[in-house]
Amino acid sequence: MGWYLLRRAGASLVTLFIATIVVFAGVRGLPGDPAVALSAETSNPQVLQAIRTEYGLDKPVPVQYGLWLSHAFRGDLGTSPNTGLSVSQTLAERLPITLELTVLALLLAVVIGVPIGILAAVKRGSAADYVASTAALGGLSVPHFWLGILFILGFAVNLGWLPASGFVPLTDPGANLAHMIMPAFVLGIGLAAVVMRQMRSAMLESLGADYVRTARAKGMSGFVVVGIHALRNSLVTVVTVVGLQLGALISGAVITEQIFIIPGIGKLTIDSVFSRDYPTLQAVVLLTATAYIVANLLVDIAYSLLNPRIRVAGGSA
């Protein structure tokens, strides 16, 4: 197993490296002269030339890339021309917020999706299954930014129970939760639907497997059959799926933060696109890509731990 993971880690590293090149090239490809954007002025050529020298924009592109990368390694991701602040600092401030949002959403998704998925599988074909499956499909189909607007409409504007937007740090947990619960829910619903469907499908497959039939033939109770034999096998699938959905979660966070005006990484992405804040955009995209690659690697590790066929070197096939 050690070799397998080492190879996977190596592949991840290569992917990450290529990703950095793509990010750099991509941002360079954005329309507009970066010097102009950095200066926030358009005319004075001397100023522009000074900016170019200062930011190394007159050097060949691969050199710029190298410079950027070496700076990034040391934690220096540049300075935002809009705020004048260090990009790393902005990221450090905003990352925990997005993290809180995604963790809450993930928690919600698992807490809602897993039990309902199991229930639907065990009671396959019943009314409960039908309702649950339809609800899940609905949750998948609904554009969650629309849901966000509706929630704001309902809970904030009409009922006044929850604040419509904004963020309060965890120092005030009650207010923090009040601000986060709608966005977390909106973000988590799509994932909950996916989790529920995957759980149901994996459980159905497990429940229909020969070894479950054997367990029943041994006189095991329903609880043991479902909870131990079928469930353990299904969990493996679900963990993998959840891992794969992390990208979707980050994507969703972008829009959710935009609607609920939460100062996280997602909103930063959009803001920096529109304000032509290239250093920030570069850093954010790189950060999300890195996070995703690392998350995938972790999921692979978890999968190989859970599946004895990989963990214990097999004898005969």
């Binding site: 396959r124 074909g125 497997a209 020969d210 070894y211 039939r213 054997t214 367990a215 029943r216 033939a217 041994k218 006189g219 095991m220 109770s221 329903g222 043991v224 034999h229 353990r232 096998n233 599946n307 004895p308 066929r309 214990v312 097999g314 004898g315 005969s316 096939a317």
Partner: protein, 335 residues
């Protein structure tokens, strides 16, 4: 004396995407204590379904009717909870595919121990010790180490022996075996059958073995029930069946088996093929189900499905023209 297991007028029906399928139609048989009964037939004749029906392990799309009596007690009337007490303890089952029938994520020892902990209330360590004993019993070498292994680390023959160990762990009254050797190599088949037979002698278990392989039947069975399209077409003691087959289908099965140990009356030792395939019944038959493939079929056969009647001493057949037909089939002389 009450038979150990009695199946009376068993019917099993399925709902599929293409309509209803009548898998088992009015099957009846009985097994005495210590006796080995074999359910024989080609794929799709309903024999596996019969075995699953006994334990109530049919898929949810199936419905079952008829009586099944275990030592006189009707187990079709039992609720799920009572049925679970019987499964694994009084009646157990060995399945065809040992690779998929064992849970890949639990050790062999755990899976054997599970039955013991459930039915005999053993503790984990007691169950583990007993599992090692059972692995010894089914002649798995280095049982103490093997008990901690996972199914994918074992060969097919060994896995099947693990299944047998699991099945006999609580000393059941009846052991159902659904094609236990079909997925195994021929050499391993003989080993597994040996183990099954020895265990059966030692423990006095009644065995119902489902198979399509007449060689297996000849090896282990005392009594044979031949099935076709969900019906019993012939039943009798194994020696009688081989020497004096009553139903043309049985004749066909025997004629299509290469038997180097049998000397045939005519000098051409030809394998005889039965043309056609086993039909899937969607409604009750209005003629003999075997008629389309039968060389003896004529008008009386097309009136209705014949009843199972005694056509020779101790032998039963569902045929209007029973008996070995000298003109068509080569006479079989046992060597």
């Amino acid at each position: 004396m009450t038979a150990r297991l009695e199946v009376e007028d068993l019917h099993v029906r399925f709902d599929t995407d293409e309509g209803t399928v009548l898998a088992v139609n009015g099957v009846s048989f009985s097994v005495e204590p210590g006796e080995v009964l074999s359910l024989v037939g080609e794929s799709g004749c309903g024999k596996s379904m019969t075995a699953l029906a006994v334990l109530g392990l049919l898929p949810p799309t199936a419905s079952r009717s008829g009586r099944i009596r275990l030592e006189g007690e009707d187990i079709t009337r039992l609720d799920e909870k009572a049925l679970r007490r019987i499964r694994g303890r009084d009646v157990s089952m060995v399945f065809q595919e040992p690779m998929t029938s064992l849970n890949p994520i639990f050790t062999v020892g755990y899976q054997i121990g599970e039955v013991l902990r459930r039915h005999e209330g053993l503790s984990r360590s007691q169950a583990r010790a007993r599992a090692v004993e059972l692995l010894d019993l089914v002649r798995i070498p280095a049982a103490k180490q093997r008990v901690r292994e996972y199914p994918h680390q074992m060969s097919g023959g060994m896995r099947q022996r693990v299944m047998i160990a699991m099945a006999v762990a609580c000393n059941p009254k009846v052991l159902l075996a659904d094609e236990p050797t079909t997925a195994l190599d021929v050499t391993i088949q003989a080993q597994v059958l040996d183990i099954m037979r020895d265990l059966q002698h030692e423990l006095g278990t009644s065995v119902v073995i489902v198979t399509h392989d007449l060689g297996v039947v000849a090896e282990v069975a005392d009594k044979v029930v031949v099935m076709y399209a969900g019906h019993v077409v012939e039943a009798g003691a194994v020696d009688d069946l081989f020497a004096n087959p009553q139903h043309p289908y049985t004749l066909g099965l025997l004629g299509s088996v290469p038997r180097p140990d049998l000397v045939l009356a005519d000098t051409q030792n030809r394998l005889v093929e039965i043309p056609g395939m086993v039909p899937t019944l969607r409604q009750p038959p209005s003629a003999c189900v075997f008629a389309p493939r039968c060389s003896r079929a004529d008008d009386p056969c097309l009136v209705r499905m014949p009843e199972l009647v005694e056509t020779a001493s101790g032998q039963y057949a569902a045929c209007v023209h029973p008996g070995p037909e000298r003109a068509r089939q080569p006479e079989v002389i046992r060597s």
